[in-house]
Amino acid sequence: MASLKDLRNRIASVKATQKITKAMQMVAAAKLRRAQSAAEAARPYAERMAVVLSNLAAGVSQGDAELPRMLTGTGDDKTHLMVVCTAERGLCGAFNSSIARLAREHANKLLAEGKTVKIICVGKKGHDILRRQFSKQIIEFVDLREFRYVGYEQADMIGRKVIQLFDEGEFDVATLFYSRFKSVIAQVPTALKIIPAQVAPEEGTEAAAGDGGESLYEYEPSQQAILGTLLPKNLSVQVFTALLENAASEQGARMSAMDSATRNAGEMIKKQTLIYNRTRQAQITKELIEIISGAEAL
């Protein structure tokens, strides 16, 4: 049986923890708003890029001209590159582990098929998790800890790295792993194939392209040259979008994790206080009995 002092200490420590988790929740909520607005601000660029690219790709594939390899792929799928984006910090529920789990399953499946897997880790946490199993496969680890908010520059840096590896013939297929932000309580780990580029026109964009009359376009310098410069840019934009979604997801996950932690702490305090009060009362009763029985004995 714990003494009263022990109980008091325990309650005080839970209270202190609750204060921390509460503060973390509020910080996450503020950061989430910022991350969400950043993700929203970046959306028009990605959308327009997709429209332009699908227009271009549709126009090019009609001609018999040679297509860039980024669009068609190398015609092989022996070596796979996985770009796994996670957070730099923990304490955000299952956020990091669910992305890592998806990546791990993907990698295991590819390895079972006898394919070569190469991994680029973006973010410390994913690297920590994947390192245990795939230390041989990890070729690079990108640390974004020094940046408070991810900008396009960092995404472009990762994009350039991927393209450089692709140009050197280091891999055939690239997949991007990140967490899509659905809502504060739901983040969906997603795998997105980035090379060969997925530019299959969607229903909506096709209509937009149709009334533009893409065959009338004048291209300067040439359609191939534009497509060639646009595809790497599109890759960077995709990485950028993934990083922004990840940032929003991370804060959302942290917010809900800290919310439940705060609630748990509250419950624990209630339980401990009850035990404390009972123990205290029992002690008082015991003391009273001692006094009374002492008086009676006289």
């Binding site: 601000a41 970046a42 660029y45 327009r48 396009y152 533009g212 004048e218 840019k233």
Partner: protein, 133 residues
């Protein structure tokens, strides 16, 4: 004068959206001006100033560093890799930028890529001179 819809989108935000009379673009094949009713065209952009003409002599200058223009029948959209409005430019940030581009250029072998970077440095230095004036 007739106007058309113009949008300038940077990766992080939309920088300009509205009806304009004319837009001067630093295209890779040379500067070009887009007026209302321009033939549909797509072109890549290099480093340089984009000039938006809002009519009656009013205008805006925005420094573009690489990007892409999509001129359609309904309007023009520019996807700029990096864009900074003239108001946000400072001599110091420009100098840092020149240094950054120069170090990338120095690391490259001779070729069209290096030429493009050299042209970019030239443009940035021009921009710095304009800013000082």
């Amino acid at each position: 004068m007739a106007t058309f819809h113009f949008e300038l989108v940077a990766p992080e935000r939309i920088l300009y959206s509205g009806e304009v009379e004319a837009v001067e673009l630093p295209a890779t094949e040379g500067d070009m001006t887009v007026l209302a009713g321009h033939a549909p065209a797509m072109t890549t952009l290099q480093t340089g100033f984009l000039v938006v003409g809002e009519g009656s002599g009013k205008g805006k200058r925005i420094l573009i560093q690489g990007g892409f223009a999509d001129i359609g029948p309904k309007g023009a959209t520019i996807l700029a890799e990096r864009a900074t409005p003239l108001e946000e430019l400072t001599a110091q940030s420009l100098e840092e930028e020149i240094l950054r581009v120069r170090t990338t250029a120095d690391a490259k072998d001779e070729g069209p890529e290096k030429e493009a970077l050299k042209a970019a440095i030239h443009k940035l230095e021009e921009a710095k001179a304009t800013l000082r004036a």
